[in-house]
């Protein structure tokens, strides 16, 4: 077997091990201390407080962290592949902002009263509209430079947040509170159905993206050259946009705007294992999940009994890691 494939297997195994460790850490830490060795014992005792804490609070949060972290990270990896630029991700392109606006509109106008499923759907629609908008703005002008594209993303974010502030100022205080809380970003979600939707669609996004592993690899050469290799780039890019919007929109609709996951994790993965999408897709997902599980554990324990918004942690860690990586290895700072 090729040396490369063996490396991949080791890498995935190491990531899965890390994931397992973070799961154990996350489940065992919090207000109610459960020691790591007791985790399994607790699960068999259905009447204990620990059992309730685990299954009703920590496990749903953990599942949500996997869905949101994996989804955002994967979405970043996809967008970086399409734009051939390591700086794009749902947050920097304004897609998270668009999704948030979509969800805020749904809350303010009370659409979600009909069914809470409206929330993820409006997040998805908001993300997709923003993504296609940014893309067509950059294509229309005939290949925008990296900087102006990111600038468009930032501007879209501003417009979206201005619109959100407008919505917040005209809405009732009840709605206001739920919007504010959700915008700050948190994995605290009590609706089990929403959590299920999040994890299923995240995993579906992962599987769907794998169908595009080869086209994404070909896109590393640029759209024209990918076409020369027989890839239908137009269709590929559109379908991948839909997948990326799905991942981002749903993550935002349940957990609010959590930035930088999609930027930092795929970047680290690329540094370690290379740029082949066959390995990047899966490992970005797992890496994002690990990152968010750990961030969430810190967020809810560091100033216990209070809780930090998780965006604070990801912003700090993500931003710092990125700055360090960027300043250390200029030569690696190239995609494709």
């Amino acid at each position: 077997m090729q040396r490369k494939y063996i490396n991949w297997i080791f890498f995935i195994a190491a990531l899965l091990l890390l994931l397992l460790i973070s799961v154990v850490i996350s489940l065992s830490s919090g207000e109610v201390k459960i020691s790591r060795t007791e985790l399994f014992a607790v699960l068999s005792d259905k009447n204990s407080i620990e059992y309730t804490v685990l299954t009703k609070i920590r496990l749903p949060r953990l599942i949500l962290a996997i869905a949101v972290g994996g989804g955002l990270s994967l979405s970043g990896a996809i967008l970086q592949g399409i734009y051939r630029n390591p700086l794009v991700e749902p947050y920097t392109l304004g897609i998270s902002g668009g999704a948030a606006l979509g969800v805020a509109i749904a809350i303010v106008f009370g659409f979600h009263a009909a069914s809470f499923v409206i929330l993820p759907i409006s997040g998805f629609v908001g993300a997709m509209i923003t993504l296609f908008l940014v893309y067509f703005l950059s294509v229309k002008k005939g290949g925008l430079s990296v900087n102006s594209m990111l600038l468009i993303g930032v501007m879209v974010s501003f417009v979206a947040s201005a619109a959100m502030m407008f919505l917040m100022s005209i809405t009732t205080s009840d709605n206001l509170q739920s919007i504010v809380f959700w915008v700050m970003g948190s994995l605290d979600e009590s609706n089990m159905m929403l959590i299920k939707i999040a994890i299923y669609s995240s995993l579906a996004g992962l599987v769907l993206t794998y169908f595009f592993a080869q086209p994404l690899n070909a896109l590393r050469l640029g759209e024209m050259r990918a076409k020369h290799l027989g890839i239908n780039t137009k269709v590929t890019v559109k379908l991948l946009f839909i997948v990326a919007s799905l991942l981002t929109g749903i993550a935002v609709s349940v957990a609010g705007v959590i930035g930088f996951v999609g930027l930092v994790i795929p970047h680290l993965i690329r540094l370690i294992i290379g740029n082949d999408y066959r390995i990047i897709i899966g490992s970005s997902f797992i890496g994002g999940a690990i990152f968010l599980i750990l961030s969430d554990t810190v967020a809810r324990t560091i100033i216990s009994p209070n809780e930090l918004p998780i965006g604070v942690i990801t912003g700090f860690v993500g931003g710092l890691v990125f700055i360090v990586v960027l300043s250390r290895s200029k030569s690696h700072f190239k995609l494709n």
Binding site: G222, M224, D276, K334
Partner: protein, 267 residues
């Protein structure tokens, strides 16, 4: 008569801006054909038309009796390989890059390369001499080495027709000659059919079996090097004073430029 590659009344381009018109020529298997012409004469547009990057406006192109326009993207990539002028690939090893040439042969959900893919990639890396660079990163290679890797990748597509867009631009004469010798050899040994855009008229005359001269989106002339490279056509197309002679060793035409100053004295 059935030609290997035939273009008939072909027109493509950007309507309203620049359109190629009335292009007709045929190429036989194993021919090494150069396309010459000044900047903006439509050389690259013609390539983009053949490779399917641009939509055909009228006419058709046939490869081995099959309309290229009717081929699927995949089928087209199995038949026509393109090496672009610049190969911008960052952190990807030469081997990874060359293996990309097998993408057109991959089945829908095939995840890994087959043994055959590696065998073919290795064969062409050997042939183009990039095997020692196999594990180097593309962005660490020199321009000439990148072109060689680009050719190896294109050959790995096992195409019927190879399109090369100025493979020797930005290279010193060592690498220019190295690459053109390689293409010449490939054309002879594998009877590979090659269509190459080239700026250097002397290299074009020395290496190509025949030449196509483009002017303002039309084909001005097609023929053997000594038929095309005559001072009348060159002066008309390039708007430059030249004289042509014959290379005493190869017997191929050579074009000399004449500076304004010398030309004035000669009058």
């Amino acid at each position: 008569m059935n030609h290997f590659f035939k273009i008939e009344d072909f027109s493509c381009g950007y309507p309203g801006k620049f359109v190629l018109e009335d292009i007709s020529f045929e190429i036989e298997k194993g021919d090494f054909v150069g396309i010459i012409g000044p900047n903006g004469s439509g050389k690259t547009t013609l390539f983009n038309g053949i490779s399917g990057e641009l939509e055909t406006l009228s006419g058709n192109s046939k490869l081995k009796g099959k309309f290229i326009q009717q081929m699927s993207l995949k089928e087209r990539a199995q038949n026509v390989a393109v090496v672009t002028q610049n190969i911008e690939v960052g952190s990807m090893t030469v081997e990874e890059y060359v293996l990309m040439g097998r993408i057109p042969y991959r089945r829908q959900f095939q995840f890994f390369e087959t043994k055959n893919d590696f065998t073919i990639a290795n064969k062409y890396m050997e042939l183009t001499g990039v095997t020692p660079l196999k594990y180097k990163y593309m962005n660490a290679l020199s321009g000439g080495e990148q072109q060689l890797a680009g050719i190896a990748r294109a050959l790995t597509q096992e195409p019927e027709l190879l399109l090369l867009d100025e493979p020797t631009s930005h290279l010193d004469i060592t690498h220019q000659v190295q690459i053109l010798n390689l293409i010449r050899r490939l054309s002879n040994e594998l009877s590979l059919t090659v269509l190459m855009i080239i700026h250097d008229l002397n290299l074009a005359g020395e290496y190509c079996d025949s030449l196509i001269m483009m002017q303002n989106g039309r084909m001005r002339k097609k023929g053997l090097p000594h038929e095309v490279l005559n001072y009348k056509d060159i002066e008309a197309v390039y708007n430059t004073v030249v004289i042509t002679r014959t290379n005493p060793v190869s017997g191929k035409p050579v074009v000399f430029l004449v500076s304004e100053e010398t030309f004035g004295k000669g009058e």
